[in-house]
């Protein structure tokens, strides 16, 4: 036991990423795979029901653009809301925000790898109905970032898994049900999450994607600022 073992933390080490991936557990792969496979199932049902190739293509996009944000948002909030070792984590010299960031990063990485593979397969088989390869990431990344960041934000502010998951569910469902309202309201259109599936890659698509990315990043910044006071994450049971 040598005291010189303790050194200022410099590089983020690979073993820590591995441990954080294990903390996230099965959710890590279940979140993207559930979304993508349900999307495929819906597309198969639509194809079986006599839908056109274009409609089936749109349905396949629903996996990454519509379902992935929901599953990722729910997984993200579950990771943030519950941590059996939170008090111990807060006493360690590694900032808890960094640990949470790493944990959520593994979720983002798993989601990105699965979705990129999925997009590549659809592209190779000619079933990809979204924009070209360079812009294809923008089909799923902005809505996923936005909803997951919102989920984490509400989870931190409300310190309630129930409130956070309900907000995610309501925003997701509300955007699906009130798509026409979003399309009609000029100011709301940039914040509509499912533009590719509902309206296609039209003139407003880029504006929408950029607005979602910018506002999603803004929420991430707010989350990072809130995590500067990580003790606020201790729930009533823990305090």
């Amino acid at each position: 036991m040598k005291s010189e073992l303790i050194r200022p933390i410099q590089n983020r080490r690979l073993p820590l990423w591995r441990y954080e991936a294990r903390r996230a557990g099965w959710t890590l792969l279940a979140a993207p795979l559930t979304a993508l496979l349900v999307g495929v199932a819906l597309a198969l049902l639509a194809a079986n029901g006599g839908s056109s190739r274009d409609q089936v293509g749109r349905m396949l996009l629903a996996g990454p653009e519509v379902l992935l944000p929901l599953t990722t948002g729910m997984a993200a909030v579950s990771m943030v809301a519950r941590d059996g070792c939170r008090e111990l984590q807060l006493s360690l010299p590694t900032r808890y925000a960094v640990t949470l960031g790493r944990r959520l990063g593994t979720l983002a990485l798993a989601g990105a790898v699965c979705t990129l593979l999925f997009s590549a397969i659809l592209g190779l088989t000619g079933l990809w109905a979204g924009p070209g390869p360079l812009a294809s990431t923008l089909v799923w990344l902005p809505p996923t970032l936005w909803l997951a960041a919102l989920a984490v934000l509400v989870g931190i502010l409300g310190r309630s898994l129930v409130v956070a998951t309900t907000v995610v569910a309501v925003v997701w469902l509300g955007e699906l049900l009130f798509a026409a309202w979003f399309a009609a309201e000029g100011w709301a259109r940039p914040f509509f999450l499912f533009t590719t599936v509902r309206f296609g890659v039209d003139g407003d698509w880029w504006t929408n994607r950029l607005a979602l990315t910018a506002s999603g990043l803004l929420i991430v910044v707010v989350v990072a600022l809130l995590l500067r006071r990580p003790h606020q994450l201790l729930t009533e049971e823990e305090v």
């Binding site: 303790i6 410099q10 441990y19 059996g84 070792c85 008090e87 006493s91």
Partner: protein, 298 residues
Amino acid sequence: MDIQISRLARRFGKVTALHSVDLSIPGGMYGLLGANGAGKTTLMRILAGVLPPGSGQVRVGGHDLTTGAGRLAVQRRLGYLPQDLGLYPDLTPREFLDYVGLLKGLDDTRARRAQVDELLDLVALGEVAGRRMKGFSGGMRRRVGIAQALLGDPTLIVVDEPTAGLDPEERVRFRTLLAGLAGHRTVLLSTHIVEDVAQTCQHTAVMAAGRVVYTGTVADLVRVGEGATWEVVTGVGGPPPAGVVVSAVSRTDGTHYRVVSPTRPGADAVPAAPSLEEGYVALMRRAAAPVPSGSTGR
């Protein structure tokens, strides 16, 4: 690593957990006694950098805990065992300690792993080091907890109710281990089990309702019970009507009660030499009584 606390207060909404606490803790083993809800855990959390102080000053080894930099500096030298340590059940003790070691900044893989194995042997968990912690007993979990607290050879060890839920043998083992560590470190032991402090600490503080009501040696705390500890033997009937019954032992000649009371609890009560527990009870009764003006309560 000495600890200097002055006028420390902490509120949670409408509840005041700490009222202007002043405390000076030198190196070595130091006990913090108090009933549940006395504010011990809040104080421990502040010292561990988990909670920021509400107001007042807290300096640990010269570092100011009211600043982020100060908290980080202390956390680099800290070993902390929280009262409710939830472990990650899907990890083995070896993996859990390795993980905590990484978060403590122990970058040298070989040295870290060697230290992990050494600590697991120290807490007698070497044989189950590769088993997932899911089915671990309360005692085994506490031992994992103390092992992680010792990672990185900390100079300040803060343990909150470490022996709660342990069997007698494990408690003794644990206390001996902690006392052995206190040689060149500060070990702060927070507990409501008086016996743990009696067996390991020379100095102690007592908290009640968010205030420090006593600081001094354990021997002086025992003396608080002098003149207030009585033994009463009753053949039939219940305990004496006055005072706090600390123990009751049934023997052939009747039930022997040990009672803490400022006045003689019965005509047949005889004065007795107090134990630490009785000194503590006498102190708590005194702390609960209205404080005369001018008294500091310490």
